[in-house]
């Protein structure tokens, strides 16, 4: 690569440290637990030797919240009461679940199979060697067996798919 890049810019705006939100955020999460809680999942790189990756060099967050860091840098400013920090740290922000139904393009796809099915398939695959194409083939057979084309369309529509007329329309929309 011939391109050269500017040196790494400042890590953060200089003005930001005095912001109460900065100080609250610095204390928002507790120290890293001694034993990592992450269970090794199926995609884990188990057994891989540690790599000289930046991720491996992240210092442990031992020693508590970064409140100390914030204090160090901005010692002149009075620290907010511990109570405020506690509240900030433990209050889950109100979930904003009321996002509007798709405003944008009408969705072309819906997410199937679901997490449950995939998790079960993953479990089965830990015991048996199994190609997913076999599962798909079986599921297709099940769907098509003893159903008319219109029934199949109805089943798919029932799962939330909007079936549009093919172009040019061969027959009346079902």
């Amino acid at each position: 690569m011939t391109k050269t890049f500017a040196p790494t810019p400042q890590r953060q705006p200089r003005s930001v440290g005095g912001d109460p939100a900065f100080r609250a955020a610095a204390a928002a999460f507790p120290a890293e637990p001694a034993v990592p809680a992450a269970p090794p999942g199926p995609a884990a790189s188990a057994g891989a030797p540690p790599e000289p990756n930046a991720a491996a060099e992240y210092p442990a967050d031992a020693g508590g919240s970064g409140g100390a860091v914030a204090d160090e840098q901005h010692g002149a400013q009075p620290r907010a009461t511990g109570g405020a920090h506690e509240e900030r740290a433990t209050t889950v922000p109100p979930p904003t679940l009321s996002f509007a139904p798709a405003v944008l393009p009408e969705s072309k796809m819906t997410i199937y199979p679901g997490v449950t099915e995939r998790a079960r398939l993953a479990t089965i695959k830990t015991h048996h060697r199994l190609a997913e194409s076999i599962v798909a083939e079986y599921a297709l057979e099940e769907l098509f067996r003893q159903r008319t084309d219109d029934d199949i369309a109805a089943v798919l529509r029932g799962r939330g798919h909007s079936l549009r007329r093919a172009r040019p329309a061969p027959r009346a929309d079902p």
Partner: protein, 268 residues
């Protein structure tokens, strides 16, 4: 060490509407165009706007299931028009307790050792999913809209979060929605520069960015010749260079023709 490009690129900002989702899509699309297609784009916004942008109706939280270890990486992937697999989100992300943050962060770091993943977040920086994505990031891509005086309020939480956890990803700040009406833009650019922040690329305001939604993909895919796309390709080149420095991943990138800088100067 894997010689494939790998790492976590998290797009984050405490400001809604700053261009996070547009940028996550475009960075992923631009990386693909540069020959380093991400292994996945992950949606960690409870609003699931990235999931929608790729044309999916949010129904189940695949990103959540993956980071909980309930499903494997391959099982979380969904096809997209763009040819970059999506890991969709659902609204249940809003209910993820803070206690799960560390496990999610560690899981993301683990994934980042093998996979190249671009993550879109919500503006709820201190929620567990977003904090995990920020604290697992190798590169933090921070969109800075140059449309309003939002700059000062947008980042203290990200900065505080990083200070609190002693984590130090590469930060790539870039301007979004930059238009050529000079007065406000120049004033904002000056303020930002005085604050010690260097904007690496300015993404112009352009209708192409909005239109991309209708193609269920990134602006880079939908309007490859637009100025918006060109700027995102330049941004992706910079992001990738930073990532390489960190992870030592193979170049794998075709830097291509140098792109022209935008004609908006910081100092007028």
């Amino acid at each position: 060490m894997t010689d494939r490009p790998h790492g976590i690129i998290t797009v984050a900002s405490g400001k809604g509407g700053s261009g996070k989702t547009t940028s996550a899509l475009a960075i992923a699309g631009a990386l693909k165009k540069l020959g380093v297609a991400p292994d996945a784009v992950m949606d960690l916004d409870y609003g699931a706007s990235l999931t929608r942008s790729y044309g999916y109706t949010p129904s189940e939280g695949f990103s959540e299931a993956l980071l909980d270890g309930r499903i494997g990486f391959a099982d979380a992937l969904h096809d997209t028009n763009e040819g970059i697999p999506l890991i969709p989100a659902s609204a249940t992300l809003a209910a993820v307790e803070k206690g799960r943050m560390h496990a999610w962060r560690d899981r993301l770091r683990e994934l980042g050792r093998e996979k190249l993943i671009v993550i879109d977040t919500s503006d709820d920086v201190l929620s567990a999913p977003v904090a995990a994505a920020i604290l697992a990031a190798d590169v933090l891509a921070i969109p800075t809209p140059l449309t309003q005086k939002a700059y000062a309020r947008a980042y203290p939480e990200i900065a505080g979060l990083l200070a609190g956890q002693k984590h130090n990803p590469e930060q790539v700040w870039f301007g979004t929605m930059v238009d050529q009406r000079p007065a406000l833009t120049r004033q904002l650019l000056r303020e930002i520069a005085e604050d010690g922040v260097e904007l690496s690329v300015l993404i112009p305001r352009g209708i192409a960015a909005d239109e991309a939604d209708y193609a269920a993909g990134s602006v880079v895919m939908a309007s490859p010749k637009s100025k918006v796309s060109t700027a995102y390709v330049e941004l992706a080149t910079m992001i990738y260079a930073r990532l390489r420095r960190l992870t030592g991943a193979a170049p794998g990138i075709d830097a291509g023709r140098p792109t022209r800088p935008l004609p908006v100067a910081v100092n007028g």
